[in-house]
């Protein structure tokens, strides 16, 4: 993805012009085009959602909902004045859906990590790790949801900062600041985890 040619969709690697054609076909309710979009983008959306939520069912649900929203909005997107990159659009939708669900689950269970990386991130991360036996999951899960999204998009999905900022509806400066905090929080969490061994 990082090696996609300029003007190509980050997810599928196809030129944006192809995206416009696919979008136009989806707008006309062409099932083959819709399936093509699913094949091209569903795995990416699923990965983002899974790494953010840590729940396979939730991730599948988010990926499905994002793609269905593409179906819903295809007529408007195809008729819009600016060309739309399907991958970028879907990434933004999936990221926002994942953030929304994390916030919702935090409100419902009150068992999530604190909003910001406080002085005791290790404790939460350690508990998460012990419960899930998945250290990597615990590290990511220890981050606030927006920091989590920043790491998932840039580290795992290798999106350029500008793309990731767009996916999170942020300007580049704010995103870089968020990413800086996320990296720092991740390091601290990892150091505490290592120290606790």
């Amino acid at each position: 993805m990082a090696g996609s040619p300029p003007g190509a969709d980050e997810a599928s690697g196809r030129p944006v012009g192809d995206d416009a054609a696919v979008l136009a076909r989806i707008a006309k309710r062409d099932e083959a085009a819709f399936r093509q979009a699913i094949d091209d983008h569903a795995r990416l959306l699923h990965r983002i959602a899974y790494r953010m939520t840590g729940d396979a069912h939730e991730a599948e649900d988010i990926a499905q909902e994002a793609i269905l929203r593409l179906w819903d909005h295809a007529p408007r997107l195809a008729a819009g004045p600016k060309p739309v990159r399907i991958g970028a659009w879907l990434t933004r939708v999936a990221t926002n859906l994942a953030i929304d669900r994390l916030r919702l689950s935090k409100r419902m269970s009150n068992s999530e990590v604190p909003e910001s990386a406080d002085a005791e991130p290790l404790a939460d991360a350690q508990m998460e790790s012990e419960q899930t036996h998945d250290a990597a999951r615990a590290l990511i899960g220890a981050l606030p949801e927006r920091q989590r999204a920043a790491i998932v998009l840039t580290y795992y999905e290798e999106l350029p900062n500008a793309e990731a900022a767009g996916a999170m509806d942020m300007n580049i400066k704010a995103f870089e600041s968020l990413l800086h905090r996320a990296r720092a929080a991740l390091r601290v969490a990892f150091e505490h985890k290592e120290a606790a061994r």
Binding site: Y50, H73, A135, A136, I140
Partner: protein, 295 residues
Amino acid sequence: MSGERFDFDPALKKALGENTVPDLPEGFADRVVAATEGRAPPLPQQRTASSRWRTSRRLAIGLVSAGALASAAAATGVLEELGVDLPSPQEVWSSITGAQPAPAPSPSPPASTAPEPVPDARAPVVIEGPIDTPEELEEAFRRVDQRREERVDTRRSRVDQRIGERIDARRAQGLPAPTQEQEERLSDRLDTVRENADARRAARIEERREALREDVEAGGEITRENFIEADRTRLRNLSPEQRRDRLRQWRERRQERLRRLESEGANASGSDPLRKEDDANPPSNDPNGSSQDPQ
């Protein structure tokens, strides 16, 4: 996944790398495609303008549109489209006095098919020359009333018919149409509007007639010019917009008559009494106020 942009410790990178993702389950695409069936359309995008401004703007657009439509209706001759003949002063005077009207064709084809009201042959009073007796005046009023009643009935029945046709057409096209109850309410409202219009017109006419009666009782004579002068006074009380509308309608009628006269080979050199009269009295109509009252 690569860590070039992240100066993480290798151990941290390794730990992060263990965060693997399971594959998408089989049949995911089929499920998504199946889920598109019967999916509700998305809500419209949120508007960013404030609702108060939007409401005001709609009101302004509505008012301007209503004004434009009203002007357009007057300019394009909605009444003519309805087949309603707007008589010239000459025709009105002829109907009052019983004289034969000038041989001019009616301005619109539907009107030519409508039965032309004729003076009551059984009327005992014969109006000769100017109206100078109370009997002649009352007879003139009676004939005006008769003619007006016919015209109003024709106009209203055509309006009712047009409304019914529009409602039927909307039903046929599957568009929202008023229910029976709503139709009845609409009909009642229309009746109320018409009754109010009748009352206003009757009061206006009666006032004018009283003045004419006093003139006749005082030994005066009522000529066509008197009638027309009365209407000119009424015209002076119109707003500039109404006056412009009248003038536009008059010009259209005049053009239409000229075209008809020319097409029939009539002498268009100015000797035609109808043309002369129309030229002299541009926006004039029924001196008794019946010809252009809204129905």
